[in-house]
Subunit: 350 residues, 2 copies
DNA sequence: GTCCACACGGACACCGGTGTCATAAGCATC
DNA sequence: GATGCTTATGACACCGGTGTCCGTGTGGAC
């Protein structure tokens, strides 16, 4: 009764002092309980923990952040226009963070902007971020990784291939996945296979292209430059890039597009010309985004486990440090699967 | 030189004390400059501001948060599966927050879960959030709004119609938008128009349905129950729900689907039955998501300004408080536009 | 010339945690 | 029984800001 005025305001707003008083110990001891210090008497720990549980006390994150010089925030940094990927990553990260004391802070930056480094540095140091997850293509920026190292900020780089920095990477093996997809086309009898490549400056675009070339080389199929069109990972670019391929004579009997949006563009271009898919033209995309099942015919594509990779990235981040004794050994290399739908068939006339 | 050791560690990590020393004033004076206190000598203010600018000093957000009992974080809370909407909202909010000291923290909650309230309350109070933006359908939860009021947490509710709580709402006028879309169908000569409604429990579904009914009533067109199918805002649900409509005899000559995903499902179902769109069936969707232009024919749909609404919500949040003398009078009601693409034509045989 | 109001600046406590170090208690050793 | 060592706990300063309150200097009114 004396000085206690619990139910006066709205929230109890318990502090560490309140807990200490109730438990008849000092602040520091409560702090030790919270931080799982090993040099604590069992009984004391149990007593304090009981009170914490009863009262529902939660330490103030701001105070901890101030004292520790480190926040319990994970940043998600990207310069990527790919909506589906961003959201799937977000989903995976949030799954991993769920139930922990970590929160996710979003930070898009302008692709190509000069201030990207300053932006991110400011973000990271100001907010005293615990760590950041970086999405491609920004994740391919080694200078950024170096800067984060210098700032002492943990980070995980998502990517399509292992870079120099394996311990900070969570990757899918795009090259092999695409090679598999193209091998499938070849096994169906296709020999004139076109490529709609992704934009320069994207490692994933390069990897996918190499996978494409690899499969063709294996089968000793030549690859004239005319069978390669340059896209920008957008629907429109896929649409216009594929026109040069569809104008060829003889026309390719199959096209691999480096992502689903462009594959949808190829499909659209084919329809505009009255080319029947898959009878006259087979198409394979990459990403397994929802659009693949919305169009007709549904697109055969390569699925990579974005959500799982996001989860792994977050676990890697929070696992390596505060002994959240989760399964830190989550694999850092993920493999993809070919999803067979309706856009591939053997070529009509060989 | 004396005690200054700037370039020793990685980051300068300037504190308010450093600035005070350099300016030859006290901490408090610097604090006053930062917080734009009006009772300050012009010269002093200028001097301190100059030093802050030179040194690039930024106050530690954690310390401010602790002292003020309030963080400079905006939460985005949703229980919604609609990827496109979430990301567009995020984009708008981030645009508004760009260049301010605010950051965006993401918080999805399980739709329908019993713990939603506790979850959000914990989130809000623990992080001492400055405010939250709530997306539908969670934004329709009045109990949540009440709880936030009690917690003294600012909030903005996104929605499809003004609820009891106008000052906290940013809304689009779905009813009128749908009525317009249906009026357009009627003007094209359609009389048998089917509806694929959205799920129960979504205000937007109800509003869109009412708009549909309104337009029909205006034109004195009857609406038998058989012309209404129930969907769940997903592609699959649109696909299966539309089957009952397409089985009718006489078949509806047009279908309004309450969102684009379901409209894509209707289109898909039509294709499966060999029904030609738009010749034999007109379709209108809602949202103007990318899928509308990926399918064939491209879907006529209703576009609502999600990004702008997200921006407005964030401005409303940060504008009302700390005299960020931005344009706080951003409108809170947004109107939608009918986007005419290729999925509507006059009925073939009237 | 004196007094007062007022504008400004500084000392100090405080927000709610954590790190450092000292100290008390417990126990084996000699 | 004194010594030394380990283990459990607490006192206190500190993280980097902000609020309160008081002291000082200045200008205007009389």
């Amino acid at each position: 009764m004396a000085k206690q005025k619990q139910d006066e305001g709205q929230a109890p707003k318990l502090t560490i002092n309140d807990i200490a008083r109730m438990a008849g110990v000092s602040k520091k001891t409560v702090s030790r309980v919270i931080n799982r210090s090993p040099l604590l008497n069992r009984e004391t720990r149990d007593k304090v923990e009981a009170i914490i549980r009863e009262t529902g006390y939660v330490p103030n994150p701001q105070a901890r952040a101030l004292a520790l010089g480190r926040n319990f925030l994970i940043g998600l940094v990207y310069d990527n226009p790919n909506v589906q990927m961003i959201l799937s990553m977000q989903k995976g990260i949030l799954e991993a963070l769920h139930g922990t004391e970590f929160e996710l802070v979003i930070r898009p930056v302008d692709r190509g902007s000069r201030q990207v480094m300053e932006d991110i540095q400011g973000f990271v140091t100001r907010q005293r971020l615990f760590g950041v997850v970086i999405l491609p293509p920004l994740s391919e920026n080694d200078a950024l990784a170096r800067m984060l190292d210098e700032q002492g900020c943990r980070y995980v780089r998502m990517g399509s291939a292992v870079l120099d920095d394996p311990e900070h990477m969570v990757v899918s093996n795009d090259r092999e996945a695409v090679a598999d997809a193209v091998r499938y086309l070849i096994s169906q009898g296709h020999r004139r296979i076109g490529l709609v490549a992704g934009p320069h400056g994207f490692r994933s675009a390069q990897e996918r292209r190499e996978g494409f070339e690899l499969a063709l080389a294996e089968a000793e199929i030549g690859l004239p430059r005319s069978l390669i069109a340059q896209g920008e990972y957008t629907f429109e670019s896929g649409l216009s890039a594929s026109e040069s391929l569809l104008d060829l004579s003889p026309r390719p009997t199959a096209i691999f597009a480096s992502n689903d949006e462009m594959a949808a563009g190829v499909l659209y271009a084919a329809r505009l010309r009255g080319i029947s898919v898959p009878d006259e033209l087979s198409i394979i995309g990459f990403d397994d985004t929802p659009v693949t099942t919305r169009v007709w015919p549904p697109l055969t594509t390569v699925r990579w486990p974005i959500v799982a990779m996001g989860r792994a990235a977050a676990l890697k981040l929070i696992g390596t440090a505060i002994g959240e004794d989760e399964d830190v050994n989550e694999p850092s290399m993920f493999s993809s699967t070919l999803i067979r739908r309706g856009s591939v068939a053997p070529p009509s006339a060989s």
